[in-house]
């Protein structure tokens, strides 16, 4: 006989059962929220604009295919304007209010130095492309992963090219007078010294110096066979190139990718002044001797023709944006979860993950994902659709 008590108990049980069955369904359909810390405006916005194109391409592609295990990706974008304070506020808002599952960025080291400890405290999975070595420390920041080279790797790539590919022995290492320029001159000089080369001249130049002839003369008198340049100032770079031509000195420049910027092309006195300049590049973003990109990257570039403009950005920024989203989506797909610990554990097991920008390998003790072999040197004056030709010396 059905009593009133039995009916009440049964109804409660049914309601509980239905709630229990609904909860996983809700979780399964909940969007994957990815925080994107982008310096989309301000003086250092160029990289983030490039990254952003890749990010949106990847999100649109994944969502267009039905999402990850049926869950759509939802981007939570905050413009940090390159300002560490704004980046810190954005991270806190993403974590506490937007409740994102993982974060991509920030994309410059100044911001990352401020945000990485916060993300570590909240166990927030984070991938970023910032170069400063100290940003990666699995003991202090176990949830932070780098998918671009560290400064040490860059130093190694440039010194390796100068010594082993160009077969030179005496180098001048110069930078601008900013903190970046000064520290990189020291670390780069150490890298050349470690490989047995002689750093015959080491110095910094104010980026607004109108005439760099004295500095170039000192480098020549010191016997430099190549000049390693660490600055993002296109004015200083172009003055170095023009002065080299005026002196009739046939010395190669090696170093920072800014030497390949289109702005440099506008500032040099004649196109020939840009010759013999080799910049850090990436294997997957370089045209080989056949004039083609690696097959997988070429296929991607062909597939987004008309959708992504590469003319005013660099290819690696776009590819890294795609890879960042794919790394997060891949972790959710493989673990079936957006839990922080599961995403981090999954990334810690990645070995030779074939991204577009690079082939990544992470482990519990190594969160620098880019292998040294993916770093190459490129011809600075060869930019075409955001990518460069491999420098002489690569087979």
């Amino acid at each position: 006989m059905i009593t009133r008590r039995t009916l009440a108990l049964g109804s409660t049980g049914l309601a509980a059962a239905s709630l229990a069955s609904v909860r996983p369904t809700l979780a399964d359909n909940e969007p994957i929220r990815i925080g994107w810390l982008a310096a989309l405006t301000g003086p250092s916005s160029a990289p983030a604009i490039g990254f952003d194109r890749g990010v949106h391409q990847a999100v649109d592609t994944i969502n267009g295919q039905g999402g990850v295990n049926g869950r759509k990706i939802e981007l939570v974008v905050r413009d940090t304007q390159g300002d560490p304070t704004k980046a810190v506020n954005a991270v806190q808002e993403m974590i506490s209010r937007a409740q994102v599952h993982a974060i991509w960025g920030p994309t410059n080291s100044g911001e990352a130095l401020a945000t990485t400890p916060i993300m570590a405290r909240f166990k927030m999975p984070d991938v970023h492309p910032c170069f400063v070595d100290s940003l990666i420390d699995p003991a202090r920041f176990p949830t932070a992963f780098r998918m671009a080279p560290s400064n040490s790797q860059i130093d190694e790539a440039v010194s390796d090219y100068g010594i082993n590919k160009l077969k030179l022995k005496k180098f001048a290492v110069i930078g601008d007078t900013t903190g970046y320029g000064t520290t990189t001159v020291n670390s780069s000089s150490a890298s050349f010294g470690k490989r047995g080369a002689e750093v015959v001249y080491k110095g910094t130049i104010d980026a607004t110096t109108p005439d760099v002839t004295p500095d170039m003369l000192r480098m020549r008198d010191a016997g430099a066979q190549a000049i390693v340049v660490w600055t993002v100032s296109t004015g200083l770079i172009s003055r170095l190139m023009n002065t080299r031509a005026n002196m009739g000195w046939d010395v190669p420049f090696l170093g920072h990718p800014a030497m390949g910027s289109g702005e440099v092309g506008k500032l040099i006195a004649k196109p020939a002044n840009w010759d013999k300049t080799y910049i850090l590049g990436f294997k997957n973003c370089s045209y080989g001797p056949d004039g083609k990109l690696p097959q997988k990257v070429q296929a991607f570039v062909d597939s987004v023709q008309g959708k992504i403009d590469f003319a005013d950005t660099t290819l690696w920024w776009v590819l890294a944006g795609v890879d960042a989203i794919d790394l997060i989506a891949g972790a959710v797909r493989e673990t079936g979860s957006t839990e922080s610990s599961k995403i981090v554990d999954y990334w810690n097991t990645l070995h030779d993950y074939p991204g577009l920008f690079a082939t990544y390998t992470f482990s519990k003790d190594q969160h620098n994902g880019m292998p040294q072999s993916d770093l190459v040197m490129s011809e600075a004056n060869s930019q075409k659709q955001g990518a460069y030709k491999l420098a002489p010396g690569y087979g």
Binding site: G203, D211, N242, E263, A269
Partner: protein, 286 residues
Amino acid sequence: MIAAILTSGLALGAVYALMGVVYNVMFAASRVMSFTTGQLGMLGGVLGAAFIGVLGLPTLLGFTLTLVCCALVGVVTELVAVRPVLHKLEQHLYVLSTLALALMIQQVAAIEWGTEPRPFPHLFGIGGGGATDEKFWLPVLACAATIGGLELLFRRTLVGRAFLAIAEDNFAARALGLPERNLRIASYALAGAIGGLAGFSSGQLLLAFFANGAMLNFYGFVPVALGGLGSNRGAVASGLALGVVQQAANFTLGGVFASVAVFVIFILTLLAAPQGLFGVAQQRRV
């Protein structure tokens, strides 16, 4: 090496000297050291590159428009940043007002022109990087023309004498019926045009770059202090000497030591002659 030091040193020195003259012209009319001085130089380069390089205007028209625009900025400086604080000169409020206007000019230039240096067009097509390169002799020519023009203005014209009267004794000049306010506006317009000329003539040397203003402000002040406040001849001699010493230090010492050497000389000179090399010690009633 000596030829290279003299070539680039005199060119840079001429730019510093012109900046010093801009400081002096503004100061003579208002007793104000305006921080917009360097920005006028920056605008000379940026506007010249915009008119001739970007818009493709003929050189002479681009040059004239640049000077007119810079003169207008000079007038705006007087109206916005100087006149409202003139009655409180002893509180030095002009430091704040002219600095604020200078920052606004720089930010507008950064937004409209961009934060990367851009090329300044070759005016006569004489390049090559040697002593005959126009980027080296144009600033020197501009400096010589400015000094010659100012000498003619101040010594041979009635307006020039009125300028001198205002600079000498503002109250007495007004008592004599001189239009002090109009003359002050004209002085700021003249200073703006000279600043524009400095930036225009050094455009190939310094490039059209929004951040040049701060550097020109700084190095333009040194000739004023060395030469004596208000002395254009002193500013020119000190500016040229500064440029040559700076380049000599660059060649011999290099890097940050060059700047250190320049300022050691600067401080020693002021210790020896506090009123500046060409200045006159002020007399005080006791």
